[in-house]
Amino acid sequence: MEAVNKKVKISSNETIESPWRMTYRRLKKNKLSMVGFVILLGMFIFSFIGPFLSPHDMITTNVLNANKPPSSQFWLGTDSVGRDVLLRLMLGGRISLLVGLVSVAISVFIGTLVGGLSGFYGGWIDNVLMRIADIFMAVPTMPILVILAAVMSDLKVLPERRIFVVMFILGILSWAGLSRLVRGQILTLREQEFMQAAEALGLKDSRKIFKHLIPNVVPTIIVNATLGIGSSILMESALSFLGLGVVPPIPSWGNMIQAVNNFYNFQNRPWLWIPPGVCIFLTVMAINLFGDGLRDALDPKLKR
C-alpha cells in the first residue's frame, strides 16, 4: 500500500519549464550557437542600423569617383557609379537577409507540413501529396517567374516590393524537396514502436505528427533551412536576369557579388566583391552554427 498512498509532493517554488525555455537555456550554453547568434545579430544591426550612421547616401552618384579602392572617405571603396560600397553593403543586407529568411521560412513550413502528413498517413494521402510534390518539382520555375515579373509589371506593383513577392512565390515553389526528405524519414519513424504506443493512446493525429514524428526529423529540417538561406541569398541575384532581382538603386549582396562576373573586377577590384561574399558567407555560417546548436539543444542524447 505504501507505494499507492505515498503523497505526491511538488515543492511550491518549483518552476515548470516549457520545452521552449529548456531549448533556449541549452542554446545559451552552447558556445558555437551563441557565436552564430551574435554574428547574425551583428548582421542585422549592420544592415538595419548601420545605414543611419553612414555619411553617404544611396542615390547620389559620382561618375568621376567610380571604382575607387578603399580610402578614408570610402572605407570599402566605390562602385562603378561612385557610390559607397560600405553603405550599399549595409543596405544590401536588408534585402538579402529578409529575402533569405522569408523564402526559407515558407518553404520549410510547407515542406515540413506536407512531408509530415504524407509520411504519417501514407496510403493515398501520401500518394496524392507526393504526386503534388512531384508536380511542383517538375514544373519549371523560370517561366513562372517570368510571368510573375510581367504580371507585377502590369499591375505596377512597387518595384522595391517585388522581390518579396518573388521570394514568397519561390518559397511556395521550393518546398517539394524538403517534403520528400521529411517524408522519407517519417516512413521509417512511423514504423517504430513508440508510434504504436502513441496510437494506442489514441492521440490526435496532429499530435502524433508534430510532437512525435517531426521532432525526430528536425535535424534534417535544420540542415535544409541552413542550406536554403544561403542559396536563396544567391538565388536572388541569379534571378535578376529574369528581371526579378532587386532594382536600382536598391542593392543586395547577391547583386553586388555579381560584380565579380567581370574578370577585370575579379582581378583588380576586390573591394567590389569580397565584402558581399564575406557577408553571405558569414550569414550562412552563422545560421549554420546556430542550427547546429539548435540541433544539439534538441537532441536529448547530447547534453552534457
Binding site: 515548470i16 489514441g202 492521440l203 536529448p300
Partner: protein, 326 residues
Amino acid sequence: MSEIILSVRDLKKYFPIKAGVLQKTVGHVKAVDGVSFDIVKGETLGIVGESGCGKSTTGRAIIRLFEKTGGDVYFNGKEVHSLNHKELRAIRPKMQMIFQDPYSSLNPRMTVGQIVGEALLDHGIITDKVELRKKVMKTIEECGLASYHIDRYPHEFSGGQRQRIGIARALALDPDFIIADEPVSALDVSIQAQIINLLMDLQKERGFTYLFISHDLSVVEHISTRVGVMYLGSMVELANKKDMYKNPLHPYTQALLSAAPVPDPTAERKRIILTGDIPSPANPPSGCKFHTRCPYAMPICKTDIPEFKDRGNKHFVACHLLDKNN
C-alpha cells in the same frame, strides 16, 4: 452473470512473408490463428505461452494496432475493427496497452513528463499545465519512479525504469481495460511486486480489467483470475487459475509448469523435457499443432484438429487425450 467487457471471437492475424527483390508474398506467418475468449469486467486474464506464439500479436490485434486478418473483437459490445477513426480515438483511453519492449516504445525525443502526460492533454482530460504535472508526478511515483525523473529522457533510464514509464503512460489515462504485455519482466522483484500490487490495488479500487501477458508463471498465478495458455497461434487451455495450476490438462501446460524455475538453489527439479522439432507458424503442423513435440501424441493428433471445449468447471482444453477419456 457478470458483464463481459471484451470478447474475442476466432481472431486471426497473418503476416505475409515476402521474398525476393520484388518482395513477392510467398506465404503467411499465422501469428494468431483463431483465438477466442471472453474477459469479464474486473477480472484478470493471464496469458502464457511459448515465446513467439502470438501473445503480443493477439494483444495488438485486440486494440487494433494491427488490422486483423479475421474474426471479431468486441469491446463493451462494439466491434473494435469496424470503428471509424473518430470512434476508435474515443475508446482508446478506455483500452490501454503496456508494451513489451520498454525502450523502443518510448519516443527518444520526449521527456517522461511529456510521454506520460500528453494523452491526458490530448484527450482533454486535464488541460491545466500545473494540474497535469501533478497528475504525472503522482502517476510515475505510483509506478515506482521518482518525481525528479519527470524531465528526463528515456535513454537516461535503466531498462526497468523505462518499463515503469510505459506502465505509467497506460495508467495515467485511468483505462477500463489494460493489455499488459510482459509489464514486469524487466523489473527487479521488489519493483515487480510493487507494480503487481499497484495493478491489483487499482483493480480493486477502480475495477480495472487486465489481459496480462507474461512468461512468469508465478506472477501470472498471483495476479490472474483465469489463465489461458497459447501455443503456436491458438489457445490450447483456458481455465480458472486454481484449476490451471493444480490440474493442468494439456500436455503443453504441464511441460510449461514443470519448467518454471524455483528460487531455491537446492530445490530438486523434475522437468518435462519437450523433444521434437519446434514447428513454424508459417507452416503449422496439421491436426493438433502440438503433436510434433507431445510426449503422448497419438495418430489422431496428426490428422484431426482437437476441439477447444469445456472439460468441466469452465476448464477449456483442446486435446485429443481428453476426448478419448471422456
